[in-house]
Symmetry: C2
Amino acid sequence: MNEGFTFHFSPQPLLIVISGPSGVGKDTVVRAMQARGLPIHFVVTATTRPIRPGEVHGVDYFFVTHEEFARMIEQDELIEYAYVYNDYKGIPKAQAREALTSGKDVVMRLDVQGAATIRKLYPEALLIFLTTRTEEELVRRLQKRHTETPEGLNLRIAMARKELQRIQEFDYVVINAEDKLDETVDIILAIIQSEHHRVHHRKVVI
Amino acid sequence: MNEGFTFHFSPQPLLIVISGPSGVGKDTVVRAMQARGLPIHFVVTATTRPIRPGEVHGVDYFFVTHEEFARMIEQDELIEYAYVYNDYKGIPKAQAREALTSGKDVVMRLDVQGAATIRKLYPEALLIFLTTRTEEELVRRLQKRHTETPEGLNLRIAMARKELQRIQEFDYVVINAEDKLDETVDIILAIIQSEHHRVHHRKVVI
C-alpha cells in the first residue's frame, strides 16, 4: 500500500473580465495581451457599431447588422448584451463555453454594466477594473480618438464618474497609465497567474 | 469646483506567510526572494535550534538560548511561537509591526501550525502553502540535509501527510519543484503583486 501523497495541480480555467470606463484603453490592453501569445482565449465581441480604422472583422469584433444582432438575441446565443452609445455589443456564448471546456482561460472586454451582469451570472468570474489615474487623462484619451462629439464626450465623462463608484464590485483594480501599456499587461498577467494558484478555485461553468 | 476623479492607488502592506511541510524548501525560497532586492521585510525568526553550516546569526535566524527565548515569551515579545522537533521558534512582534507601519510587505516563514495561528490572529494575512509535487521528492530533500535520524525522517513524513490535509486553510498553493527555484519565486512575487491590486485590501494591524 502506498500512503505517499502526490500533489495534483490542475488549475481551473478562469473567466476573466477586463472592464472600466470608456476610453480607459480596454481594447488596447486586450490587444497587447493577445500579442504575448499565451494560451488564453480572447472572446470576439459581436457589435453593431461601425468598424474603426485599423480594426479587423472577426479579430477585434464581429461587426454585424442590427438584424443579425436581433437574431442572436432571439436564439439566446449571447451571454450578455447591451445597448451603449447607440450601438449593441454582445458576448457569444458558444465561443466562451468551448474555450473554457478546452481548459483555456477566457478573457472578455466589457463595460462596467456588462461586468456586473457577468458577476451575477457567474459569481466566480474574475473581474478586473481598468482606470486612468485621473479624469484629465481619460478626457485626453477620448479626445485623441476624434470620434466623439462634445456631447458624446461629456456623456462618457459623466458615465466614467458613476462607474468609478462601482469599483467595489470588482476583484482587482489596475491603473492603465499613459505610456505604461507593458506594465498594465504585466500586472494583469500576474493577477491571472496568481489566481491559478488559489486554493479556492474560481470554477465557472457556462 | 472640480468634480473630476483622481484615482488614489495606495496599496496596504501585506502580511505574507510562507509555509508548508518541513523539507519543502521554505528557507531556500525565502533566501531566493531576499536576493531579488525588493522592498520587502523578511522577518528574522528567533530559534533555539543549533546553527547549521552556512547560516548567519541575525540574518537567517536569531539563534538564542532557551533562557533568552523564555524571557521573550514572558515579556510578550513574540507574535507566535512553537516547540517543534525539540526546538523553539518564534516571530518577534516589534519587527513585523515596524515593517508594516513603514509600508513594507512583511514575509515570514512558518510551519503549518504557525500559519494557522497567524490566520486566527490576523485573518487578513496572506497564506501561501509550499509543497513538493510528490512525497518521494520531499523524502529525497530531507535525506539530502543529512541532519535527520531515520526516526526524525519518519516523523517529518507523517507530519507532512497531515499538513497536506490543511491546505484548505491557505490562500494559495505553490509547488516548489526541484531545480525550479526561480519559477517558485516568480509565482510568489506574482501573487504578492496581484494582491496589491485587490479592490478589497488585506489590511493587517499588529
